[in-house]
Every structure is written in C-alpha cells, then in structure tokens.
C-alpha cells in the first residue's frame, strides 16, 4: 500500500511511459452516489502477452532481478482487494494496456487522493512527447486536462518549465476539487465500519 492515490497514479503512468506509449488516457472517477472511486489508466504502449500479464501481478517477479521496481501493480491490486473493490488488467501485444482499480468509496482503507496534479505533471515531464489525457468525473462535476491542448497553446515553450508546470498542477488540483459539503464526522464511514465488524 502506498500513502495516497497520486503515488499509484504516477507509478502506473510511468509503466506506460516505459512501455513506449505515445498516448495515455487516465480516468479518475469519484462518486458518492455509486459509492465508488476508480482510477483507470489506458495506454498504447507495447503491451504484454498473457503470461506477462500474470507475471506483473506477482510481487516477486521484478523485485528479485531489478529490485525497487515492479511493486506498483501488485500494490494497486492489493488496494482494490483491501477496499472491497476490483482490479482489472488487460493487455494486448503491440496494442497497449488497460489497468483499473475500483474501490468502495466509504471503505476505511481508501487512501487520500494526494497531489494528483503533481503526479500528472511529473508523468508528463518524464517524456514530453507523450500525450496524456486526464478525465475526472464525480457526481458534481467533470474536468479534463489534455497535455496536447496545453502544448498547442505553449508552442515551443516546455510544459516542464517551472512556471508552466506549477500552473498545470494548480489548474488540475483546482479542477478536481470538491466542495467540502461532506459530513466529515457525522455518519462518517459508518457503513464500512459495520461491514468490517461483521466480517
């Protein structure tokens, strides 16, 4: 488990970049009505065959040889299991990969969002040629961020220039911010609590 959702996002998006993707589509859904939070990353990278799809879910697969890397997917999967959600991983060689983690929103173990804007900008700056499209959908609002659109406006200026990147981060974080109408204490995750006690 990682400290927040932005870390999972960055980890999975960097897998896509390492897989040579030129387009990465990220979809972050946070719905109280459906009691669901999900994070989905789709890319058009080199993809994996069936055997590889199994292997990358095994936490021992990469740790032995290369150390330090390779735990992102097993952690992402564990997150889904722990938060009573589901994990999906589909891949086709030379086509790309789709990975999705869905969590029960009111589950106690759902991590905080973290700095999503920062994670997206960090991913963008790993390889500036990669096109990243981000969609955020909640019951209240929808927000999109598209690196291609930003680049068209910027022309020759790099998106990773300090001023531009900090603007992007702030723009994204503002775009996905929800009004704090949540009943923070009253009835706080009570259903998740009782679920746990009975299980």
């Amino acid at each position: 488990m990682m400290a927040d959702l932005s870390m999972y996002l960055l980890d999975i998006a960097s897998n896509s970049i390492r897989a040579g993707a030129s387009h990465i589509m990220i979809r972050f859904v946070d719905s109280k009505k459906k009691n669901e939070i999900s994070l989905e990353i789709r890319d058009d990278g080199k993809g994996m065959d069936e055997a590889m799809v199994k292997k990358v879910q095994d936490p021992f697969f990469t740790t032995r040889k290369t150390r330090k890397i390779g735990l992102g997917i097993p952690f992402f999967k564990e997150l889904a299991q722990q938060c009573e959600g589901r994990f999906e991983l589909e891949s086709k060689v030379n086509k790309g990969t789709r990975i999705k983690c869905t969590m029960k929103k009111d589950h106690w173990d759902v991590p905080p969002r973290g700095d999503i804007g920062d994670a997206l900008v960090l991913a963008l700056c790993m390889n500036e040629a990669v096109h990243i499209h981000f969609d955020y959908i909640s019951d209240e609002k929808q927000f999109s961020f598209d690196s291609q659109q930003i680049r068209e406006i910027l022309g020759d200026v790099s998106i990773c220039e300090a001023e531009i990147s900090s603007w992007c981060k702030a723009y994204i974080n503002e775009g996905i911010k929800e009004e704090e109408k949540d009943e923070v204490i009253s009835g706080f995750k009570s259903s998740a609590r009782s679920d746990k006690e009975t299980s």
């Binding site: 990682m2 400290a3 936490p59 021992f60 032995r64 735990l71 952690f75």
Partner: protein
Amino acid sequence: MQVKEFAQKTGFKIWASEKALEKEISGVFVGDLLSWVIGNSEANQIWITVQSHLNSVAVSALKEISVLVIAQDAKIEQEVIDRALEEDIALCASRLSAYEICKKCVELGL
C-alpha cells in the same frame, strides 16, 4: 539475537526455513503502509504489521527483513506461508497487538 531465539522466547507461531532461523535480528520496525516500510525499514529488522498480503513477503524480501510478524491474528493465506518459506523469510503470527509485540521486543533487549 537470532531468529530462532526470538521465536523461542516469544512463543509466537513461526514458519521458517532452516536458513531463516539462523538470521540475525538488528532491530524492530512497525508499519502497515508498504511503501513506507520500503522507504524506512532496514535490513535484518523484525517487521510488525497487520498486512498479511503476499506483498508483505515481497517487501520483506526486498528489504531483507529477518522476521515478518503478523499481529492481532490477521488472517494468513497458505500462499503467503509458502512464499515466506521459499524466500527464507521467517514468518510469525501472534494474537497480540503491534504495541504488545513491541513491548515483548523491548523486554528481549531489541
């Protein structure tokens, strides 16, 4: 202290290969956030957690943890036990809380 001695003195249930029993213990780390453990634990420590997922064994292998102690009777799947044995990581289970286990470690001079 060796893993063998730790297991004898605490009386915790243990699954360990011969090689795992011989390992030295240098200290104790407590935490349930795996990425945090990766960032902050040190080799040869005992790691106390309630996370009994297979990923905990992988993190233990990565960080060269001597003993993975699962606190408060958190459920341990057979797959986790098998993998710990295979990786020469000693795996312990206790009904005590992480805090109570820490107290035992202090008593043992760890």
